[in-house]
């Protein structure tokens, strides 16, 4: 069975703190994606990770991929309120199908 699990499901953190969101997937993947969704809005593409050891960074967010462990992480550095959103990882397989994780709802508290 294909599974993409994220943890935590809910995350409340103070501004200025660091935290990591974890994404585990159940089988071999071609590609791992991270998306952001603001309340009432659609999904915004953040990162695409294509190979073992890949690391991408944009501002306070950094994503990495370990294909051997079937694990991707999204690290948040010195969180600010604007990062409050729901973050989804998605695992891509051949044939262009995406399977989305459960999502992590992040709230950054001033």
């Amino acid at each position: 069975e294909l599974k993409v699990e994220q943890n935590p499901l809910f995350l409340s953190m103070q501004e200025g703190k660091n935290y990591t969101i974890y994404c585990n997937y159940s089988t071999t993947s071609d590609r791992l994606y991270w998306y952001r969704q603001d309340p009432g809005k659609s999904l915004e593409s953040l990162f695409v990770l294509l190979s073992n050891g890949a690391v991408k960074q944009e501002g306070r967010l950094m994503a990495s991929l370990d294909t051997k462990a079937r694990l991707s992480t999204l690290h948040i550095t010195a969180a600010v309120h604007d990062l409050s959103a729901t973050y989804f990882c998605a695992w891509g397989v051949s044939g262009n199908q995406f399977y989305f994780g459960t999502g992590t709802s992040l709230t950054v508290i001033p």
């Binding site: 809005k41 659609s42 593409s45 989804f88 262009n96 995406f98 989305f100 999502g103």
Partner: protein, 114 residues
Amino acid sequence: SAVISQKPSRDICQRGTSLTIQCQVDSQVTMMFWYRQQPGQSLTLIATANQGSEATYESGFVIDKFPISRPNLTFSTLTVSNMSPEDSSIYLCSVEQGRVDTQYFGPGTRLTVL
């Protein structure tokens, strides 16, 4: 990235009726995807739509309930048929673009069935 629009943006419908959602892309794309996002949940792929062929449905979704059209490379429709309150969800279309096959999403259609 592609600019994707959906119509309607939201609707409130009566049980037993059907609603057709339109998805328009500003460039030609081979594959379009339809997802459902139930309140507070993740996204679930309903089907993949290629131009000129029958849509491919995921497990748990059938053509009679969710017929899809893909008449050209910039447009697709999803119909939610014989609706029940359990169909209340956000329906999103997406397209795949770029060298790394990223999917880009439309703004979604928020459907409430009474």
